[in-house]
């Protein structure tokens, strides 16, 4: 197998593994140990060699501290607005919430890997990456808002544990939908390869409408961060301010997920340029990429589904 392809697959697989475990509040789960992401212990020689992970760890710590700082400031400003609202503080809150959403979405989860895999399976325009990013972020947040407000105002029950339970159920539904979409894409490309002599319209699902199922499948999982922010504002009797923050956070998230979408499209085009000399038929290359992406979607979706029962 070509080294480039190996590299691509490795990156996707590692990223997948990193993302699998990013779920569930340990305080509310009786089996919190099952989500442990403890890494296998490294030996001395591995540690002596400063790895990419070591540097990433340091960078990550800084990012985490920044997120914590924003969280603290947002809490402080929300309390100030409650006692003495001013336009300046609203603007500051909006900017902070945007940064919070932006940094927050850089972490695992939020369906970035699915968005990436999906976009490489199809003939995508640059704008598709942006549309998908915005779509996922909007639905991701909308599901959290609807769930939180429904539990709080209609069911009037323990919001923390109820949202956690719903989150788990919605994740399972999401994983099933994602797997089904992956299977659909897989068979589509397989059919294209088998019938390579027949004139088949290349990637029939390249319209923007076809982005809706994947955006819905990923986006229905509510974002815990939104639930926390919204409940915090409700506890301060500032529901509308909470929704205002949620809008700002969503914007930050949408920018990041869109960036990933654009990156996927750019990577796909670049990888085509690299293999250009070796590729006789662009159609076959696209179909192979499609099958690879679809396999990843199926694998990730089904494994996440089964992992959610552990």
């Amino acid at each position: 197998m070509n080294n480039y392809i190996r590299f691509i697959l490795l990156i996707f697989l590692i990223t997948f593994v990193l993302n699998v475990f990013a779920e569930g509040n340990p305080f509310l789960k009786s089996n919190s140990a099952n989500t442990s992401t403890k890494s296998p212990e490294r030996n001395e020689s591995q540690i002596r060699n400063k790895t990419f992970f070591t540097l990433l760890g340091k960078y990550h710590r800084k990012l985490n501290k920044l997120q914590n700082k924003i969280n603290k400031n947002l809490t402080r400003i929300a309390n100030q607005i409650k006692s003495k609202p001013s336009f300046k503080q609203f603007v500051l809150a909006f900017v902070l919430a945007f940064c919070y959403g932006f940094i927050h979405a850089l972490g695992p989860g939020h369906g970035k890997i699915f968005a990436l895999s999906f976009l490489i399976t199809r003939k995508s325009r640059t704008v598709d990456g942006v549309i998908l990013g915005i779509g996922i972020a909007l639905l991701h947040v909308l599901s959290a808002v609807v769930l939180t407000l429904s539990i709080y105002f209609i069911l009037k029950t323990s919001v923390l544990s109820m949202t956690n339970n719903f989150e788990v159920a919605l994740k399972q539904i999401s994983y099933i939908l994602i797997t089904l979409i992956g299977l659909g894409i897989f068979f589509f490309h397989l059919k294209n390869i088998i019938n390579k002599n027949k004139k088949i319209e290349f990637i029939e699902y390249s319209s923007s409408k076809s982005l809706i199922p994947i955006a819905v499948s990923i986006g229905i999982v509510p974002c815990p961060c939104i639930t926390i922010v919204l409940l915090f504002c409700i506890s301060l009797n500032m529901l509308f301010f909470g929704l205002f923050l949620v809008f700002s956070i969503t914007t930050g998230m949408a920018v990041v997920i869109s960036m990933f979408g654009l990156l996927a499209i750019k990577l796909k085009n670049r990888s085509y340029n690299i293999f250009k000399g070796q590729i006789r038929d662009k159609k076959i290359f696209e179909n192979i990429l499609g099958i690879t992406g679809a396999s990843l979607i199926i694998m990730i979706g089904s494994l996440l589904f089964f992992a959610s029962f552990i």
Partner: protein, 196 residues
């Protein structure tokens, strides 16, 4: 090719960064008594947002104070589940990992709008005339919760005249979690009994 690799690394770097949803500032007091190490007193200060959620959920009479009944409820519903993670206390006696099975004196209160949990992790190790080593770090390896064990004053010692000790802090790469992305801070306590 170069740009291709840079793009992949960029993607990887972005995708690897984990995101916690809850922030806790933990502080630990190492308790020594006449016999040696007695245990670790934990104090966890939750971030303001999550604190409001806990208050909203468990402060039933809305007096912004947790009564005993409410504390019991918090302990049962919003604390005891982390038992499976050794209450986030990663203790090593020498090189052997200790699993924390029980905690004592759990308490929850509200300080300046932040919920504070406090509890004692018993860890009795009798001091000898030669140095003994105990290490502790505090983290949630699912990384849903960020426990910043790097803050100022997050470790203190309740000393005893019969015990001499030194504390050193370092980044323990060997115990990195979240697939090597997060390197926890670890404190190693070296102590021995002083002959009178």
């Amino acid at each position: 090719m170069k740009y291709f690799l840079i793009n992949f690394c960029l993607f990887f770097a972005i995708a690897c960064c984990a995101h916690p949803h809850i922030y806790i500032e933990p502080s630990i007091e190492i308790i020594f008594d006449d016999l040696g190490l007695n245990g670790f007193k934990n104090t966890w200060v939750f971030d303001g947002m999550y604190s409001e959620l806990i208050i909203e959920e468990y402060d039933k009479n809305k007096n912004r104070f947790f009564e005993n009944k409410e504390i019991d409820c918090i302990k049962e519903k919003s604390f005891s589940n982390v038992k499976n993670q050794s209450y986030f206390n990663r203790i090593k006696i020498g090189k052997t990992k200790k699993i924390v099975k029980e905690v004592l004196d759990f308490n929850a209160n509200i300080e300046n709008g932040n919920v504070v949990y406090s509890f004692m992790v018993p860890c009795r190790i009798v001091a000898k005339n030669y140095p003994q080593f105990v290490s502790i770090s505090v983290y949630d390896d699912s990384y849903y919760i960020s426990l910043d064990f790097d803050c100022d004053g997050c470790l203190s010692v309740k000393s005893n005249k019969n015990i001499k000790y030194t504390v050193s802090k370092y980044e323990n790469e060997k115990d990195s979690f979240y697939f090597y992305q997060i390197i926890p801070y670890e404190y190693t306590i070296k102590y021995f009994k002083v002959n009178e």
